[in-house]
Every structure is written in C-alpha cells, then in structure tokens.
C-alpha cells in the first residue's frame, strides 16, 4: 500500500506540474494579445482626435488626419461585400440544399478550401493581372473590391453553409409536407432561420476585408491621395496600406509615428467592434432561435 501511495502521489505531482504549465502557457497566449492590444490602444489613443479622423493628411503624411484612408477602406468593404455576399450565399445554398453528395459537391468544396488557402499576395498578383491589366480597370476601387471579394468568398460560403446546416432537417420536411416547393422552403423556412448566423458570417468577413493589405497593394491602394474618390475607377487610400506606408517608408518615419499608432488603433477598433458585434449577435439570436 505504501508503494501504491508513492506511485499515486508521483502521478499527482506530475499532473499538477503539467496542468500548471499548460495554464501558464495558455495565459501567456492571452498575455500576448493583451500586450498587443493595450500597447496600441495606449499609444494610439493620444493620436486620436476628431480632427485625426476627419482631416486630410498633410506635410508628407507627418501631420493631419487619415480621413481619406477611412473612407477608402469603407468603399473597399462595401464593394467587396456587394460582390462576395450574394455570390457566397447563393453558392452555399446550392452546395447545401441542392447539390447531391458526389463528385461535384466534393470538388466544389475542395476548390473552396483551396481558394481559402491561397495567400493574399497571390490574390494581389491575380487581381493586378486580371482586373487591372487584362480587363483594363486600372488601379481602382473596382479592381480592389473584386480582388478582396474573391478573397473573402470562401469565408462567406463557409459561414453560410454552417448557418444552413444548423437548421434542422425536420423543418424542411415539415415545409415539404405542406406542399411547399424546394425554393419556397428555402425562402420561407431555411433562410429566415439561418439569417442571424449568415449575418454573423458577413460581419466577420468585413473584419477580414478591412485589414487586408497585400491584395490591394497593386490593385487600388494609393500611397498619398488627399482627396476623395469620385468614381469606382478612382484609386483610394486604405487604412492597412496607410499603416504600412507610414511605418516603413514615409518621408519621415519618426515624425509620423503618432499617426501610425492612431491608424493601428483605428484598425484594431474595427476588428474589435466586428468581433463584439458578431459575438453579441450570435448570443442574442442563438438564444432566440433555440426558444422558437
């Protein structure tokens, strides 16, 4: 028995060591996040003012605001979502509701996965080659939005698919039993029930689009353009590209530091808001859907 106790306490000791180690490592991951967030928040907060958000950049981007970059990013979000959201949702409906299990479905899913795995810089190359040069859109909001749209398409498809899958099959059967057609069932039963989750997916892909830099480098982003676009064939500044430019290759890196911090904070804020919104929606509708 003494032997047994020794083994047992040895086991307990190892377990305690392992669990505490894992706990420390896990919390250090959280600590990394907190360090990044608080560093940028604290430093960036000083730079942020109403003027910073609404003024044009001045003096080789060492002074002034980031207004055109905010607007540019907004246009790019809107443009890419106008493209990716309908196609993504329709595509997910086809895969989940119409396609039969078989080669085609597997193939489309594989291709969607592959598209999701392609690095964003490759999207940049592709967008430049197809939209900017071959189709002649030039460096423009149109070219940038289409490139970003293709990039987020897999995200939209995947989240919509999850949302559709979450609707129990019995609801569909119930609708068919009442004589509804497939399309009616999708429109009146499946889509309304999955809408909250689809919207959550949309919000998350907005978060993704707002931070992407590599795809817009050669399709839309302007280094310095202190005016607002007037058509979809104009170039724009964008927040992530602006941050890259002023932190690495601005005319005076030291002087533009505060602006860099401020820009980073605005980017982080967008991501934070998007995540909170998505989580909030998920929780709110999650409960509601269950109750119905």
């Amino acid at each position: 028995m003494a032997e047994g106790e020794k083994i047992s306490s040895n086991k307990m000791l190892k377990q305690a060591i392992a669990f505490n180690l894992f706990r420390i490592l896990s919390f250090s991951v959280v600590a990394i996040l907190i360090i990044i967030l608080s560093f940028i928040t604290i430093k960036g907060f000083r730079a942020i003012s109403w003027e910073f958000l609404t003024a044009m950049p001045e003096d080789g981007m060492t002074k002034g605001g980031i207004y055109p970059a905010i607007i540019g990013t907004f246009y790019l979000i809107a443009g890419s979502m106008l493209f990716a959201f309908p196609i993504g949702v329709l595509s997910a409906i086809y895969i989940n509701e119409y396609a039969k299990d078989g080669f085609f479905k597997r193939f489309v899913k594989l291709m969607t996965n592959n598209l999701a795995g392609i690095p964003s810089i490759v999207f940049g190359l592709f967008g430049m080659s197809l939209f900017v040069n071959t189709l002649g859109f030039g460096d423009s909001i149109l070219a940038g939005s289409l490139t970003l749209g293709l990039l987020t398409l897999p995200v939209v498809i995947r989240t919509t698919e999850e949302a559709l899958k979450a609707v129990d099959h019995s609801f569909r059967l119930g609708s068919y039993a009442l004589g509804a057609t497939k399309l009616q069932t999708i429109r009146r039963v499946v889509l309304p029930m999955s809408l909250p989750n689809i919207i959550t997916g949309l919000i998350l892909s907005i978060g993704r689009v707002s931070g992407e830099t590599a795809p817009i480098l050669f399709t839309v982003a302007a280094y310095f353009l202190p005016k607002l676009p007037t058509s979809i064939f104009d170039q724009v500044m964008a927040l992530p590209y602006h941050l890259y430019v002023i932190s690495t290759s601005g005319t005076n890196i030291e002087e533009s530091r505060p602006i860099a911090y401020g820009t980073a904070l605005v980017l982080i804020a967008i991501v934070l808001i998007v995540n909170l919104l998505a989580n909030g929606l998920r929780r709110y509708f999650g409960n509601k859907v269950k109750m119905n």
């Binding site: 047994g4 106790e5 083994i7 047992s8 040895n10 086991k11």
Partner: protein
Amino acid sequence: MKIRTHQVNLYYSDFHALKGITMEISANTVTALIGPSGCGKSTFLRVFNRMNDLIDGVKITGDIFIDGQEIYDRKTNIDDLRKNVGMVFQKPNPFPKSIFENVAYGLRVNGINDKKFIEERVERSLHQSALWDEVKDKMKKSAFELSGGQQQRLCIARALAIEPSIILMDEPASALDPISTAKIEELIYELKKNYTIIIVTHNMQQAGRVSDKTGFFYLGELIEYDDTKIIFTNPKNPRTQNYITGRFG
C-alpha cells in the same frame, strides 16, 4: 459481503437520478442490473468506480462500501479504487495503440515498468479473456485491426491486467453479433470464479443466462432485487413482472 450500498442518492444538478438505493453483493457472483432506458442502472454501475465524478454538477449521498471501505471517503485514493474495480464499456473502445500496449496500459499508468512482468501479465490476461490464440502473432499490430468481438475481449483483457477484484460491465455485448455475444457470455461465466461481476444489460435473456442475482431499476429506484431465478419466474412486484414479460421498456 463484497459490496454494500446504503441509501445512495445521486443528483445531476436538479435531476434526482438515483433514489435511495440499498443493495448487497457477494463475492464471486454475477449481478445483473436491468430496467428501461434512463432508469439509472448505468448511473448506478458508475457509482462503484466513481466514474460519475467526471460529470460537472453530480452530487452523491449515502454510503458505498467495497471490502468494508467507504469508497467516497476522503481517504480513499481514487486511482487505487479504479485499479480494484475494472470496467468494460458498451462499445469496444481500445486505445489507438498496439494490442500489447492496450493490455499493458493499466500497468504502465500505475507505475509498473518491469518489462518481463508486464509481458507475463499481458499474456495471462489475454488467456483469461480467451483472446490469446487469436492475437499472439500480432501483438504489435494496431488494436483497431481486430474485429468488434475481438476488440471487446481485448478491452476485458485490458481490465483484467491490473487484477481488479470487481468488474463492471456496461452492456458489454450490445454492439456485437450473436457469436461474439456468446463468447463474451461464456467468458463472464469463467471469470465469475475469480471476480465479482456487475453487468448492466438490456437483454433479458442475457441477464437470465449469466447472472446469479438481478436488480430491476425503474425511474431511479431499485424496485426489486433477488435471485435471478426468482426475478424471472416469480417476481413480487407487478412492475417487474410487466417489464420482464415485455409490456413496457
């Protein structure tokens, strides 16, 4: 008495799953626990190796003695308890390891490293579970390569290797074909000589064939507990009668 329980109550949060179960089980017998789904028989089985401890929000009151020792006592070492009380599950659940390592697992986690000792014990356990002849040439192969019935006997060998005195069986044959089932039942009969066995089963015939005593559970209560012969031929409680004759469940 090998096992004695007195007024055992078990709650899953608010749900009262076991209601005042009192039962005595003698050594080297087979006790069958029967009853409709959700009646608490599996929960009761898992009281003996404290498997319910893993579930959040479980509360247990009452006394459970094994060999005269209260197993929910603070002094009881839970690892030692589980070493003494082996368990075989509903579906065969070998580890993603070789056949040999599956059987050796219990020894290794309990701090035994003597290679020769482990080899001897593995072989003996496989003999006991009537699997040795079928696997002796492929001990290094993955346990997943065995058939379902073989896997279940491997799981029994795995439980026997740490020399428990009690074996809990949770519907051990429910996922198996009739031939494999017969083999398991034969095995239970053999094992009875050296072990105290408690088996949960849905299969009335099986309970009748393998057990000495039978307890009938219904809605968390032990309705009737007696010799198997009596339960199946002359139950005292009408609800037991109804269940045995297949009127509900």
